[in-house]
Symmetry: C2
Subunit: 379 residues, 2 copies
């Protein structure tokens, strides 16, 4: 995987198509913050490996990467054959690629959703000329990325209105930023939008044990975007709040139930409890596609438990004695009553959440992973 260097300024883009359309250019997030390396992924195996080994993470960014992976693989096949391509061979290869990508992260909701969209386009276009088919797949991948960028922009605009115009200290947890999406992120979109408008922002990034996405990723991208950022351990957030330095909290979400219960990175719940204790607004920013109406409450959202070695720190530098147990849930559930408001691409939702969420999803028109996203209209 040879590398290609991008400009080192502004809000970073975690993934894009190469100019020639034959490769996926991907920022290797496992190397951040010490090294900024862009990989040129020229085979589908490389794309699949990048997803499964977390070189790219964040549900939207994973979906976009998979779509680019299918589009670039098809472009390579079309261009490397001197003679006209047999559509049967092309279809078989495409379906095999899609299956391989689908297996990389079994739980991410945007991944199968993006693959389904690409497969539909293939089916619609396969009866036409092959160059048009390749172009149609590229267009769909670009559309998935573009829709995500637009969703982020809208979340930013809606969320910005919740930030005081004379400046604010904003605490976030984990990374729900540009690196997780095709745009400027979900939780960080209001931060970037306010910053661009000249509102003085001080961003506080909880480091987010065990994998440190807050320290490694949020601090890195905020700095690139010119936002003043300070890292703290997760345990310091309540003390920071007690000092009056946090005006509001914005976090992302991995999945939100129909009643507004929020599954997000482990530690989010503690931040919400502490925000409530201090009377600080606690906002959850997310695209409509993250609501899961099939889950009636947080109790119906399965919580992934991950390898205890993430907490132990590995064999070389173990921080936990061998015989001691380790508890390592990847997510926790924040009950909706601790959420001040949801910041979505469709506007800000206030309690009671059940009807507000139902309204939002009902109004959308069926393009999102859960049937609620339509980016061609409104506001």
């Amino acid at each position: 995987m040879p590398e290609e260097t991008h400009a080192r300024e502004g809000i970073p883009l975690p993934v894009r198509r190469s100019e020639d359309g034959k490769a996926v250019l991907l920022l290797d997030q496992t190397l951040l913050p010490t090294e900024e390396r862009y990989l040129r992924l020229e085979s589908l195996d490389e794309v699949a490996e990048a997803i499964s080994s977390l070189r790219v993470r964040g549900a939207p960014a994973i979906g976009i990467t998979a779509a680019f992976g299918l589009a670039t693989a098809t472009r390579r096949r079309v261009e490397t054959h001197p003679e006209p391509v047999d559509i049967t061979v092309l279809r078989s290869a495409f379906q095999s690629d899609s299956r391989q990508l689908r297996r990389t992260r079994p739980t991410a909701v945007n991944l199968p959703w993006a693959l389904d969209r690409m497969e539909s386009v293939f089916e619609s276009a396969e009866s036409g000329p092959v160059p048009a088919l390749a172009r149609a797949l590229e267009d769909e991948a670009d559309r998935i990325a573009g829709e995500d960028r637009e969703m982020c922009r809208r979340i930013g605009l809606h969320g910005r209105e919740l930030i005081p115009e004379d400046g604010a200290g904003i605490l976030t947890h984990c990374n729900a930023g540009a690196l997780a999406t095709g745009g400027m992120g979900t939780a960080l979109a209001p931060v970037y939008t306010a910053h661009k408008m000249g509102i003085p922002i001080r961003l506080f990034a909880g480091e987010t044990r065990p994998l440190l996405q807050g320290a490694r990723l949020t601090a890195w991208e905020a700095q690139r975007a010119g936002v003043e950022v300070e890292v703290l351990t997760d345990s310091m957030a309540p003390a920071l709040m007690a000092q009056g330095r946090v005006d509001l909290v914005i976090v992302g979400a991995d999945r939100v139930a129909a009643n507004g219960d929020v599954a997000n990175k482990i530690g989010t719940y503690g931040v919400a409890v502490s925000a409530r204790h201090h009377g600080i607004p606690f906002y959850v920013a997310l695209p409509r596609s993250t609501f899961d109406p099939a889950a009636l409450s947080g109790a119906q959202i399965p919580i992934e438990f991950r390898d205890p070695m993430e907490v132990r720190g590995g064999r070389d530098k173990s921080t936990v004695p061998e015989g001691a147990g380790v508890w390592n849930p990847a997510f926790d559930v924040t009950p909706s009553h601790l959420v001040t408001a949801f910041i979505t691409d469709g506007g800000v939702l206030r309690p009671p959440y059940e009807p507000a969420i139902a309204d939002l999803l009902g109004a959308g028109g069926g393009k999102g992973p859960h049937g609620g996203v339509d980016l061609e209209e409104g506001p």
Copy 2:
């Protein structure tokens, strides 16, 4: 600093005097849990370095180490001079040593207290023969250590009564165990006492970022003592409470104000807020000597800020981008209204705390760091 090995079973002892009286033998806690190494500290610089770089930590253990440091330094001076020692030179060196040790850690109250006791003994004994002076300093250091061991035992007995006889899940933060004291600890003393009585205990140890004393030290010593222990990241404690697995919280304290506000390891406050949110008792275990009646409230307790590199993770494996700021307070203040009870060597204190604390300190007889410890009597 050559090493010396101790027995590897039961509740560990973090520090003691060498047999010849010329060195401090100290378990290097920075190497735990992967390596159990005892250092032989033969100069005062080494003792000061061990305290400031956290090879020994925990207010009582620091005080004991400092007392041993002064006693062994004096013993070395007395024994390495062939001729009778000039008392003026000896006093000057002693005072310089004491000043050096006093500067090592700003927040721990036992450190200046132990040094004051040693200085008083020096003043009382300096008019007599030099060998008797050296012996008096050793006796005083041994007395400080012995008093601490006895205090731990009493805290264990009083705290045990707050633990349900049919067993309990107990969450603690940082390490207020044997490794922090001259005995079986403060927060962990009730745990060990209950365990010895056959009460089934499941101990949950928050890992305690940034220096991981919970994961490295509490889990290690609990395991050595045969207590079942599970480690979690600090951010997981609220989720663990929400699952009903925590019956009570016991933490230690670095300094407690006259009104009951508690300065303790950063992260303690968040645990207290979350315990209150879940209706879980939050206990603070401490010797009388940790109360500081000169501080009327937590606002008067100075909070030590430590090197940001503790959070950044060092130059080789940096987890925070270079330009990003880092907030690294070593302690936070938990307001007394979040404390269910104080478990002290003089009994369990319930609200209102101001009179209860005043009573406790008034009753003690003037031997503690703040005039409240007398271990020759009751209960």
